[in-house]
Amino acid sequence: MKRLRAMLGYAWAFLAVVIVLATFMGNRYFSHKFVSATKITVSPRVTGGDVAKVSEHGNYKTMIHRPVFDGLIGERSTGFIQIDWEPVDGLPPVLEERVEPGGKREMAFTVRLDTRSGAATAKDHVGSGLPVDQVYKLRTGWAVRVLLQKGKAP
């Protein structure tokens, strides 16, 4: 038994060198295998989630993401929706977009961004303001996150 344990110990110790070589030489291969096996992605709370709708406006386009309520277990009561503007020929000074989170008309609001000042506002159909979480100046455009409450019309 002692001999067997010693042999296993030596075998693992030798294998450690092979593991180090495989870790570096096969890093790309194992990374791809790991991602395809686990289907892991970056959290939508970081990326803004998948784009649900793209609106073409001639010289620019708007990308409306799906509402993000993702939590550790199930969904949270509060979340956000991200709206991106990307120029084709250039962005106008003021951008305005009607957004229907998750395609729900009763949740609709209008988001307005002044690209000169970077100030954004969001208002629902009766003109009440919605909280804008953050405005981001991207390399080629702008993004705005508007806070949402699950199941509640703005």
Binding site: Y10, A16, N27, T41, S43, D70
Partner: protein
């Protein structure tokens, strides 16, 4: 003192120059393979950087084998690695993002390089939601999440917490500062403090899962100071920046100088605490021969991560937090401390066990550090010839 030194030299695993060269030859081949990745360097600066890096590593490995001293030759490599990493990382970040500052937009666009310290924070959300709560790229970019996870798995299987002593790109900064003074100014640190990393680990794992964001990276990482500082645009980011700088100065600079220990690794780092558990599943450990031990306490006083105490000496094995740097092995005047391969007899062929550990550990260090050191040399050449590092 003189007798101690003599004892130490008689018990160290010295090798003849020829034997040391023969043992070092496979490492030369492996490091050349790993440093070049089988490709020829494209131009003379790359050839120079490769040659310097290759000679630097292999000279130190030869000396390690020849003299039987581990930490004495590990430390200069490890410190150089940390400094080179900072130079290389900052230059790359400026090339990619145009600035060392991490902005809200960088976070939204997932442009933050992934770091091993974030691993404990992302595991629970990844297991439950199949998503990573870190603003990095999953695959294919500089320091992508999957690439770092594979490195961590490889390091855990081959070295356990040896990762912290041989592969962590931040550890060398503290290691360097801890060697400035000849004697420590602060000599005693209460044993209770050594449990602090576990408390930090628990705190950040729970808060990250609850907040769905890597709270250590956002609030507590001292190394933001030398990698990508958070852009100060609000009171919140100002507080974050002050915390990062204070922790860096306190735990990475001042306390290591005063205590001669790696205080951020031993008293704060949640990844270190997390990695300690992988020591249980790793084949290498540090053993103490109780028959040889004279209880002089040198190992207890010199261990950078507080992994030796009276209880561990009585037990004959270092604590779970041991990062296998070899400092206690080098310091022991009686040669009572040695590397060991689990399952094999102890005390046994300690020379053989040490070499079996050195091969994977050094290869990991050479490969991880090699890229940073080569890149730092190239950037210094660029700075000298063009006036810019990027």
């Amino acid at each position: 003192m003189k007798r101690d030194a003599k004892d130490a030299s008689t018990v160290s695993s010295r090798q003849s120059p020829l034997r040391a060269l023969l043992i070092a030859l496979p490492m030369m081949f492996l490091t050349l393979l790993m440093l070049t990745a089988g490709k020829r360097p494209p131009d003379p600066p790359h050839v120079a950087a490769l040659a310097i890096t290759f000679v630097f590593f292999n000279l130190f490995f030869f000396l390690m084998v020849r003299t039987g001293k581990t930490d004495r030759y590990r430390a200069p490599l490890f410190i150089t690695y940390a400094v080179a990493f900072v130079i290389s990382f900052i230059s790359r970040i400026i090339e990619i993002r145009g600035s060392m500052a991490l902005t809200e937009t960088n976070i939204l666009q997932a442009q933050a390089p992934f770091c091993h310290i974030a691993i404990p924070m992302v595991l629970i959300p990844a297991a439950l939601t199949k998503t990573i709560i870190y603003p990095g790229t999953i695959i294919g970019s500089f320091a992508s999440i999957s690439s770092m996870l594979i490195l961590w798995i490889g390091a855990s299987l081959s070295l356990g917490r040896g990762f912290c002593g041989w592969a962590c790109f931040f550890g060398g900064l503290e290691d360097g500062f801890s060697r400035i003074l000849k004697r420590p100014v602060i000599k005693r640190i209460g044993a209770t403090w050594t449990y602090l990393p576990y408390a930090v680990l628990l705190l950040i794992v729970l808060t990250s899962a609850a907040a769905f964001s890597p709270t250590y990276c956002e609030w507590l990482c001292p190394f933001k100071t030398v990698t990508e500082y958070v852009q100060v645009t609000s009171l919140k980011t100002l507080i974050q920046a002050i915390i990062f700088l204070s922790l860096f100065l306190g735990l990475v600079v001042v306390l290591p100088i005063l205590t001669k220990r790696r205080t951020q690794c031993g008293l704060f780092c949640p990844f270190g605490a997390f990695q300690s558990f992988t020591n249980k599943a790793n084949v290498f450990d540090i053993r103490i021969d109780r028959d040889k031990c004279v209880k002089c306490g040198r190992c207890v006083r010199t261990c950078p991560t507080f992994s030796m105490n009276d209880a561990s000496i009585a037990e004959g094995v270092s604590r779970i937090t041991c990062m296998k740097c070899g400092k206690c092995v080098d310091t022991c005047p009686k040669g009572a401390i040695s590397y060991h391969v689990k399952g094999t007899p102890h005390p046994g062929r300690s020379d053989r066990y040490r070499l079996l550990f050195l091969y994977p550990a050094f290869l990991f260090l050479a490969t991880m550090a090699g890229g940073s050191i080569r890149d730092a040399i190239l950037r210094i050449i660029k700075l000298v010839t063009t006036g810019s590092m990027v």
